[in-house]
Amino acid sequence: MSLTLRTRAALLVTRAVNAVSRRLRLGGGTVIGGRAGLAVDPHLLEHAVAGRPLALVSGTNGKTTTTRLLAEALGAAVVTNATGSNMPAGHAAALAEGDPAAPVVLEVDEGYLPALVGALGPRAVVLLNLSRDQLDRTNEVRMLAGRWRRSLAGADGTVVVANADDPLVAFGAQEAPRVVWVAAGLGWRLDAVGCPACGGRIEFDDGWRCRCGFRRPEPTVRVEDRPDATTEAVFSDGRRLPVDLAIPGRFNRANAVMAAAAAEAMGVPAARALAAMATVGEVAGRFTTRTLDGVEARLMLAKNPAGWGELLGLLCPGTTPVVVSINARVADGRDPSWLWDVPFEALRGRPVVAAGERCLDLSVRLRYAEVDHETVRNPVAALAAAATDGGRVEFVGNYTAFHDLLARR
């Protein structure tokens, strides 16, 4: 492939600035170099992906994991933003590294998706779900769904893989020329009751429908839970494929089925894609076990009510202690009111420690959930406070709380 001198220079600048940033330990080394590269060539992303198979993954929850699973399915050479740096600077940084002809899988922030769809002409777009997140920033998920809809309506040459069970996603994908609808499930419904098409009320039964006629599209792929607790991807052409992952959670198996449908659009059969995903043991530190100040802790990320709803069921059963750490920086959303949408009552009976920069908001929430708890602001000290008899602790942090702990050695 041939790149203009300007694009080559921009990629070089991106790499160089990021290398310096990493060397000086200024940060993860993705955003600052990407910004510099985009300053040199504002069309860096278009030029760098031109002619390459490209998939974009977006939605409120599951972006990082689905991106990783899809990248795994597409093979070793694939270029991807594995660190979750999901805005254009992060995309530029990812594209500056690796094989300049390899397929590309990018995790994309929900708000940036429309612009990238228009500019990059992706072969596949995966739309997972939309729900409340960062209350002070994206205050209108319906508005976001409308922007997705307008950008995808003209996306000729793009296969949209969309969660048919989420009315907001369905509204966003409905006008796209080619859609693969996946019945991936929807745990959190409270943001989807107001119909995005007419403002009426959506009724949920085995699917969902509004009196205006907007209803759940007929899925071509279903995520089917078997009585023996295994999961299968069931395709409308009759294929039944086992979804067997090393990473836990029903929502992750649904993410894998979405990724498998996208892999097919990228030319990799779903069976081969799912087999490749089975080997993924860790995604960006989620569900990894670390020993911090002598305490063994499993690290988990939940950053909004929908994510928490999925995660509570994955906590070790019984009385394993739980540390919950909450921050409210810009990346988390500065308004932690959403804590009141999380059914923390499920933690009753365990030792619980509230931690993080907004531990006091959490402690008040836990008081009203009638969950006995301690409050220890420092997350590592909180782990020590929670540990009993050298046993393991479950740690759940929201976005920056999780990443801060992950970065500790």
């Binding site: 209108e140 009751v193 403002g199 009724e203 959403w338 009141w340 949408d341 402690s363």
Partner: protein
């Protein structure tokens, strides 16, 4: 009415609950129960009739669902009847707007509110008001004594004018509040209280929760040990104060 001494109704959590405002109902029900007052918490979805209750909580919502909630509540009629017979109402953000006489829809067109409070909201010309709010309750407010400083987080694009039939709840010292140029925040009349604060507001202002409860119970309430709420309030008030001071210092530096 149910067998419980007190019924707390969270109105339409499927349409009006964007900012964790369902927590206000939880706070009311727990603070009653902790005092030995049997309380039932009813989360009443928008597809069924609103039940009779002593306390109603309306929360924040997006533009479309807000219009639908206003229409459904007007058609249902139970909320206005309950207020007429002495029920207390806490209306937050979008809920505050629809409790008033009129509010703007997504296109800025005026829609009729429920008229439970003499306030009228129009679309703000500038940016949305987003951030921490500190507001000092005004003298002669809804409580028999002075309420403590109010703390909360606002996120709205409305300008709310308080009419002669209602009174502003507080004066803003940090943040925007009603945004009508008089630095007021919220409004109240009788047993209806409207505010832009979430957090949710009753978790961060337990004295306001107890005021609403005392109206519903008909007597003063014994105090609770609110050490955790006090710690949270101290921290949030200090945080908002720091930001206010920074802005003040910048203005001084520019002047």
């Amino acid at each position: 009415m149910s067998a419980s001494a007190l019924t707390v109704v969270v109105v339409y959590p499927d349409l009006l609950g964007t900012y964790g405002d369902g927590g206000n109902g939880v706070v009311l029900a727990r603070r009653a129960a902790w005092r030995g007052i049997g309380a039932e918490l009813v989360e009443s979805a928008s597809d069924r009739p609103l039940p009779a209750g002593h306390l109603y909580c309306l929360g924040g919502g997006e533009d479309g669902p807000q219009v639908q909630a206003a229409e459904s509540l007007a058609a249902d009629g139970a909320l206005a009847r309950a207020v007429g017979s002495g029920a207390a109402v806490l209306a937050v953000c979008a809920g505050y707007q629809i409790a008033g006489r009129r509010f703007p829809d997504a296109g800025g067109r005026a829609r009729p509110g429920l008229g439970l409070l003499d306030v009228a909201t129009s679309k703000a010309a500038g940016r949305r008001a987003v951030g921490e709010v500190v507001a000092e309750p005004l003298d002669g407010g809804p409580a028999p004594g002075p309420l403590p400083t109010l703390t909360g987080f606002e996120n709205h694009g409305g300008v709310t004018m308080v009419g002669p039939g209602a009174r502003p709840l507080a004066r803003v010292t940090a943040g925007v509040g009603n945004g009508a140029g008089d630095r007021t925040e919220g409004a109240w009349a009788g047993r209806v209280v409207g505010t832009y604060l979430h957090g949710p507001v009753l978790a961060r202002n337990p004295a306001l929760a107890d005021l609403l409860l005392s109206w519903a119970v008909g007597s003063a309430l014994e105090p609770l040990d609110d050490a955790e709420e006090r710690a949270l309030r101290t921290e949030r008030l200090a945080a908002a104060g720091r930001r206010g001071l920074t802005r003040f210092a910048r203005r001084r530096a520019r002047a």
